[in-house]
Amino acid sequence: MINQNIEYNQLLRISTAGSVDDGKSTLIGRLLYDSKSIFEDQLNAVEATTRRKGREGVDLALFTDGLRDEREQGITIDVAYRYFTTPKRKFIIADTPGHIQYTRNMVTGASTANVAIILVDARNGITEQTRRHSFIASLLQIPHVIVCVNKMDLVDWSESRFQEIVQQYEGILSKMTIRDVRYIPISALNGDNVVNRSNDMDWYQGAPLLHTLETLHIASDLNKIDARFPVQTVIRPQVAEFHDYRGYAGRLESGILRKGDEIIALPSGFSSKIKSIDTFDGELAEAFAPMSVSLTLEDDIDISRGDMIVRANNQPKQVQEFEAMICWLNSTPARPRGKYTIKHTTNEQKSMITDVLYKINIDNLERNSDDKDIVMNDICRITIKTTKPLMIDEYRDNRSTGSFILIDDSTNETVAAGMIIS
């Protein structure tokens, strides 16, 4: 699709979760197909496979087929990413399996999403799986949630059934912190209210799903207040022309920085002023999140990877012990008082889980403070201690400086994802 608005069109990251039966693959296939993002050779391949399986037409779910094992077993094992573009936006869908044993994949897909699509089968209403997906969307602070009540064709396009499910969902929302929720009655199989408006549900006055995705206001979701610039690497050209050049390369994770701003480098606490904001395309007067730039400073102070440049009058907390929610991602359980490398922005330190406060059962959201063993897919609130201070914000204020991963040094694997509470 030619993009006339290339200077303005935004990127929207969507996460979906679900199992084979709730129509998730069909919905994604429908979005791709009706938005004309499917190419002829892909369509021909899917038509051929549909015929081979003894069915007719186009089985939309086959567009999201993945690895060989997944095709053979008819399941999704891992997060898969799909792309489509309309004249209004570019979309990335993180497509994740919805079974409880795949909590870790849902968390992964949700970590970068602007919006979560939660599918509810109109016949079954709210299920454990709906609760699970919604809780993860809330835990990962996805700014927008769209509840798609699917298979409306199988409940005679009933408005009262739809309203009933909306009421049920409002009920479970009370235990969560989701800022923006919308409800759309759809039939992914028939295409009702996905890309095109339904002819069978006149009672629904809202927009179809694609239009909703195209127009969601996301520019203000990113924190534009707290300037946080974690340093990735220091750029020092070894040539005469740039003899004394020291550029601090990184991405502004939140907020805005301007040339001339008074800054402070953490953890050292040295202060200076921004001398220039450099890019390959020239100097900038200001930079905002999520831009990748290089900063030069008026004073020659010692800054390296893992340090953070912030405004003198707006600083993150510096702590060595804090509470967080973590999701355990590895098949090896957490070692009691085990030591792990914590990776927080570009900073790495040694850390230890000092206490397990409670575990959450994500099917009914009940807390259990007796079970202290952390195994794969567990979500729990913990206390963690680090060898040196980290520069943190609360996750609900800042998804970048409020998140971390834990790495097991004996395997190098990423074993936990964490969201800082306080």
Binding site: N3, I6, Q10, E241, F280, E286, I405
Partner: protein, 301 residues
């Protein structure tokens, strides 16, 4: 009023630059896998931007199958000279001569699969701990599951069912001696994004991407260039056609499409109207439903 958000191309660029800087910070000896195709050219361009005004801290690495387009080779050599970077070449011919791999026979013989051995040998002999590639998740279903930072064991193999979870933008490149990573900074780009970016940035690309006249034969639904490396028989009737290439691989397996698009603007317009995927013209992907997955597991790009 100033706009305080990035357009999607700006956001993709910023993400790729972030990933490239993470590579520089986390690895000792990283290289860019350079094929001479548009994706690796875009990655190289992004690397220039990421470390400006310094040179990027990566060598370029090319796996030379011996079945190259001459235009690709001269483009590569010019670029290396202009950037003043180091070039590492892994040779498939040498692997064949050393008896490590055997040349395929017959009409559709290709050296595509043979590249895996040369690639892994070169990575090992140069002690490379990270190979940056231009792979995109929209290209193929096995690639849709690929991470930005993708771990390879000490045999260079990919284990798609046992990948490290990748959350937020926290990339874990930790590895043991002998293992390496493949990193894909443009994972989230589509073919259209790459072309729009090439147009926006006016990035130089090989002449093969522009419409030109060439002697070709019709095979597997596309125009295959006639060259000394193509095994031809009576069924092949060479004709002159005005074509261009949508992707570049070995000269024996890369099919061209008939086209008049001889400027970047016309190419972008043509791609936008295309109803076939770009890899539809690549004989290497047509061998079976899981041919890409199988090659990737063994260590392919």
């Amino acid at each position: 009023m100033n706009k305080y958000y990035l357009s999607y191309l700006e956001e993709l660029e910023s993400e790729a630059i972030f990933v490239l800087r993470e590579v520089a910070a986390q690895f000792r000896n990283p290289v860019i896998l350079f094929s001479g195709g548009k994706d690796s050219i875009v990655v190289t361009h992004l690397a220039r931007k990421a470390f400006f005004p310094a040179k990027f801290p990566f060598s370029l690495m090319h796996v030379d199958t011996g079945h190259n387009f001459p235009e690709t080779m001269s483009f590569r050599d010019d670029l290396v000279k202009n950037l003043g970077v180091n070039l590492i070449v892994g040779s498939v011919q040498e692997a064949i001569d050393a008896g490590k791999v055997r040349e395929e026979k017959g009409r559709n013989a290709s050296r595509n699969v043979l590249q895996i051995t040369a690639l892994l040998d070169t990575i090992e002999s140069n002690q490379i701990d990270c190979a940056i590639g231009g792979g995109r998740r929209d290209e193929e279903k096995a690639r849709a599951k690929e991470r930005f930072f993708s771990h390879r064991d000490d045999f260079g193999q990919w284990d798609p069912k046992n990948q490290r979870p990748e959350l937020w933008n926290l990339f874990n490149g930790k590895h043991f001696q002998g293992e390496h990573f493949r990193v894909f900074p443009i994972s989230n780009w589509t073919e259209m994004d790459v072309w729009n970016y090439i147009l926006k940035e006016r990035i130089a690309i090989p002449s093969l991407y522009f419409a030109h006249e060439r002697e070709v034969v019709w095979r597997n639904d596309s125009w295959i260039p006639v060259s000394e490396h193509l095994n031809m028989d009576d069924r092949d009737v060479p004709v002159i056609k005005k074509i261009r290439f949508r992707t570049l691989g070995d000269i024996t397996i890369t099919g061209g499409i008939e086209s008049d698009a001889d400027t970047l603007e016309k190419i972008v317009e043509e791609i936008a109207a295309m109803r076939q995927t770009e890899r539809g013209n690549r004989a290497d992907d047509k061998r079976s439903e899981s041919s890409m997955e199988d090659r990737k597991r063994e260590g392919y790009f």
